[in-house]
């Protein structure tokens, strides 16, 4: 049992699940407490120890099924099966004839019931783009790697069939047929692992849609359709909103839970009552405030929404410890200083005219994330809320969704605001689907009402 679990753990790790030694020990101890014949109990012990987030459960379930069903009891192979010998002979010959190709050998191991080397090869293929030089903008590395594995699967399949045809052409059809079936099923399983990587589950994502109507007409107008006059009106509304929010926040801090006893003040108040401390005074606790980091796509459609968002955030700066802002199209530029040193409207003008951004280049989210990771990852910490405003349209460049996953791990929360209608999120070159699993919250942000609702929830 211990060896079996350790083999399974190796496979989990090869597939990028983080399982610590302490968790393996816990699992082994807990298996002694339950009835391991009952599969639900057995699987629960493994799952509760090896995956501790909803997002990894799909991957675990796939590995569990592969390991304990496809390669274990459902593999249709038991020692006393007449065709077990035939399978063994075939494997032996295949190993003898194998060249030094590691990938080919890993597939043979997979057919022998040991998926470790093959899973490692898959992980290597998927990480290829991360190990590649950082100026690569397409995910050709993983595609080429995938093609190579695909060709090796086909090569193994052809060799198996050829060997069985040559060697056992005259033997009973049923055994040969069973053996071919066995190899085909296993190779199909290897193929599905290659082609269908389980996507992280995100049913705990807060996908915010419906909203109260704050403002009738203006609030419902898409940002991208505002006329110059309406832009001015929206600015007025935003100013009023900002004042209202500031009032609420300061009131709330005033009524916030008190801090420790303020001895000086208490004694001073006690003077009035001949030294009896009738009224107690407590120290006010400074308001807890978070850090905000915003990444704004400033390609035209998104910018119309992002400018108001930045406008509000900077007007409410005192509600946060720090607001760091970045804008991007095909590269990234920090604009925090511009916003801190200029009045908001001139800051917005400056951002558009004075930053080192090519507005007419195709938007490249992958490059933006790579750039952020390279230069700014350290500004994220567990007090940071990362707000990304963008339509996730990558122009078919590599989305680099895994860098977003790293950013999530370093932040407190990741919120994505998408100015496109939800029906268009998964069409064409939109990678919203790839980014979705790594957000805590995802909401449309096309008009003022949605923006107001978002900012209120963020601050209050």
């Amino acid at each position: 049992m211990v060896n079996l679990i350790l083999k399974f753990v190796s496979s989990c790790r090869a597939a990028d699940l983080r399982v610590s030694t302490a968790e393996v020990l816990d699992c082994l101890n807990q298996l002694e407490l339950i009835d391991t014949i009952d599969e639900v109990q057995f699987r629960t012990v493994l799952r509760t120890n090896f995956v501790k987030s909803r997002r990894d459960q799909a991957k675990f379930d796939r590995l569990y099924h592969l390991f304990f069903h496809e390669m274990g009891k459902d593999s249709g192979l038991s020692e006393d099966d007449p065709f077990a010998g035939l399978i063994r002979d075939t494997m032996e010959i295949l190993y003898q004839r194998a060249n030094g190709d590691m990938l080919y050998r890993s597939l043979l191991d997979f057919l022998s019931g040991d998926p470790l080397a093959y899973l490692t090869a898959l992980r290597h293929m998927r990480n290829m783009d991360h190990d590649a030089p950082q100026n690569v903008r397409f995910n050709l590395g993983p595609l080429a790697g995938r093609l190579e594995i695909l060709m090796q699967i086909n090569a193994v399949r052809a060799k198996v069939i050829q060997f069985l045809d040559d060697r056992y052409a005259s033997t009973a059809g049923i055994e040969r047929h069973n053996a071919v079936d066995f190899f085909n099923r296993h190779l199909d399983s290897a193929y599905s692992l290659l082609m269908h990587e389980p996507r992280p589950l995100y049913d705990d994502l807060q996908n915010i849609r419906s909203y109260e109507q704050h403002l009738k007409y203006l609030g419902e107008r898409p940002f991208s359709a505002l006329t110059q006059q309406e832009v001015e009106e929206v600015r007025d509304v935003v100013d009023r909103l900002v004042r209202k929010l500031k009032d609420i926040v300061s009131r709330r801090y005033a009524a916030r839970s008190r801090g420790v006893l303020d001895i000086k003040k208490t004694l001073r108040k006690a003077m009035r009552y001949q030294g009896t401390p009738v009224e107690l005074a407590f120290k006010k606790r400074p308001p807890r405030r978070g850090k905000i980091v915003t990444l704004c796509d400033v390609s035209s459609s998104v910018w119309s929404a992002a400018r108001f968002m930045l406008n509000i955030l900077y007007s409410l700066q005192e509600c946060f410890t720090k607001v760091n802002s970045f804008i991007f199209v095909s590269g990234l530029a920090e604009v925090t200083d511009i916003f801190e040193n200029h009045e908001i409207n001139s800051a917005i003008e400056k951002v558009l005219h004075e930053t080192d951004i090519e507005y007419y280049a195709p938007t490249d989210y992958g490059e933006t994330f790579r750039h952020f990771k390279r230069d700014y990852l350290d500004i994220l910490n567990k007090k940071t809320t990362l707000i990304i405003i963008g339509d996730a349209r990558t122009n078919y460049f590599h989305p680099e969704d895994r860098i977003l996953s790293e950013m999530r791990e370093k932040s407190r929360r990741v919120i994505w605001l998408n100015p496109e209608p939800e029906s268009e999120w998964n069409s064409g070159d939109s990678e919203m689907f790839a980014y979705k699993p790594y957000c805590h919250e995802l909401r449309p942000c096309r008009n003022l009402n949605q923006l107001i609702e978002f900012v209120e929830e963020l601050i209050l």
């Binding site: 983080r18 610590s20 302490a22 968790e23 816990d26 101890n29 807990q30 407490l33 339950i34 009835d35 009952d38 639900v40 109990q41 699987r43 629960t44 012990v45 509760t48 120890n49 995956v51 501790k52 987030s53 909803r54 459960q57 049913d203 705990d204 994502l205 807060q206 996908n207 915010i208 849609r209 419906s210 916030r256 839970s257 420790v260 006893l261 208490t266 030294g275 009896t276 401390p277 107690l280 807890r288 567990k382 007090k383 999530r408 791990e409 407190r412 929360r413 805590h440």
Partner: protein, 308 residues
Amino acid sequence: MAFKSVEDVEKRLEQAGYISSREIATVVFLAGATGKPILVEGPAGVGKTELAKAVARGLEREMIRLQCYEGLDEAKALYEWEYAKQLLYTQMVKEKIQDVIAGAGTLSDAVDRIAKQEDAFFSERFIQPRPLLQAISSPAPVVLLIDEVDKSDPEFEAFLLELLSDFQVSIPELGTRRAMNIPFVVLTSNNYRDMSDALKRRCIHIYIEYPERELEMRVIRLKIPGIGERLVQQLVETVRKIRDLDLKKKPCISESLDWAQSLIALQVEDITPGVILETLNVICKYRADSQKVREHIDSITPRAGLNG
């Protein structure tokens, strides 16, 4: 009163009014046997908090609840000194203080004498235990529910981690308090933010999903005895179809139960489109969701003559 086996957990939770899946029962059993906390995640309304209450009833223990929020600190979670009481007592025993320092030759001598009395003011009498200290100090073992731990701050999470690893607290003026009995700890999270790996490593993790069809029917039968079998089947089928729609808030078990109660009150025997529309406000909490259900009313209404 510990749980003897997974089956024993299932039985006792059911007696406590909670129908659990085999997976949930296994996790509860493991937590009881190993003394590790359970971290329960899942959408709102699937019964995360209810599970902790049912464990308390099943083990016949008191349940102590700590509700987490942003800004929660040790003073609110662990203990606080009762300043007002301390000050009032100081006033009341003023004369006594005179007695204590009577005959002190110097100022520092007087201060030393008062210092010797300090324990009187920092003693059990003036401490206000909060949920975590209550759970640790309780002479009988308890169930400690730390609700919505994801709403707390990382600093508090780190403090919690320390507490959950050795179940002892040191209070500078009183010394170390060690738990007489390790409490059965349940933490719940709604994925507002990710919990740290360190905390996850210490816990047994479970994600509770919306219940399977059979399980949901058992829950309704248990909570609403006497409800007709055909109605239960139709209701569960309808609720499951509504959950498949892309809603802002999917109906959970508690909504299924509320709806069942409403249908019984209205003496409904068959669920028709009309019945659904009349009672929609029980199932959907948002106008946009109600609208969506209206649009799909034909596909979610149970087929006529459904009985299995």
